[in-house]
Symmetry: C2
């Protein structure tokens, strides 16, 4: 076992890092943060030291309990299994399926198609349209799914892993100037979640590595 606090390798603007920061905040887990700047020095995630830690060269990465975990949802599931309070997955397997379905819709169906490394490949001219298409095509589906799963939040009235995926994806959508008129359910849930402390302390505008001009 590794002694000491968990260490989160994070970038203020990474939506996948934000998911994990919310989980840590909700569960009241004290941790140390090591910022990895995905832009500076050509991307610090490409340094030899970081690649040795995470061969995918991505944040978030969490060192905890003597192991190193990559992939935000794998990290959140591990936290849920080892630090179960408060729950981020409902007890009912059918509701858990809804939570994971929404989480995966965002984590596999939207985020990877609009992340920094893909947009670089797509090229500057078309990247805004590309990102908007990826997000609206996912949000069109999500808006419809939420109409049958949502209560106060994405699935029922408790905050779940799905909500940890929703809020950072909405923030990305706002950065890419997506029109939210077709997404009243998404907008309403997002607003409710942003009122919660765990979503505020973990917000990209309030991280140790947030540039001064973006702080709020």
């Amino acid at each position: 076992m590794q002694a000491g606090k968990p260490i989160l390798y994070s970038y203020f603007r990474s939506s996948c890092s934000w998911r994990v920061r919310i989980a840590l905040a909700l569960k009241g887990i004290d941790f140390e943060m090591v910022p990895v700047n995905l832009i500076k020095d050509g991307g610090q995630q490409f340094s030899k030291a970081f690649q040795a830690l995470n061969p995918m060269k991505q944040v978030p990465t969490l060192k905890i309990d003597g192991i190193t975990i990559h992939q935000s949802l794998a990290i959140i599931e591990y936290l849920e299994e080892t630090r179960p309070t408060p729950r981020l997955l409902p007890r009912d397997p059918k509701k858990r399926a809804s939570v994971r379905m929404i989480s995966d819709l965002i984590a596999s169906g939207i985020q990877p198609l609009q992340n920094l490394s893909i947009l670089k490949k797509v090229g500057e001219e078309t990247q805004l349209t590309w990102a908007q298409n990826a997000i609206t095509s996912g949000f069109n589906a999500l808006e419809q799914i939420l109409q049958s799963t949502a209560g106060k939040y994405c699935v029922g009235d408790e905050v779940t892993m799905a909500d940890l995926c929703l809020v950072p994806q909405v923030a990305n959508a706002e950065r890419f100037k997506v029109d939210f008129t077709p997404y009243p359910t998404i907008s309403c849930i997002n607003k409710r979640l942003l009122a919660l402390e765990a979503f505020q302390v973990s917000h990209p505008c309030r991280q140790p590595d947030t540039p001064t001009e973006l702080r709020a």
Copy 2:
């Protein structure tokens, strides 16, 4: 509760559908298959009837126990929670984290970047290179990660959800003519898995909707 067998909406060549077909085979779950041809008629997933079932317009989709689940990993996790034998996730939370990390690496980090709808957007001229880059960049990381997690299979000596993701992704890599020289661990595990009955009966070359010329 819905009466009758689970219904899997599947496409023979969809790597995400194959993941679920392996899970169903391993767990000995009897099911009905409804083929959804992603090419024919401009893509049957875009039909109104299918969109009503899955607003993401993707396979796999599973109707089971009165609910409809999309997203392959959410489906597999539900099967694991409701039909736990044989296990597809180890008991030890740290090993479960490894399984989910590898599964997510493939399901979020590789597959979405080389699937049919993205390659269409990328355009015919560059799509082979695009797909190869997405796969090799993920496999470079995976090869390294497997060196510390693998036994006979991806994580230890039991078949897990990670293996259900690996084999279909390797098949895609082969279709895109990826050079496997740098991936001895991936190749070796893939070969072992393909020898198992559940991976054979669920294989794309042996589905009800496999075109005659691709059957084996």
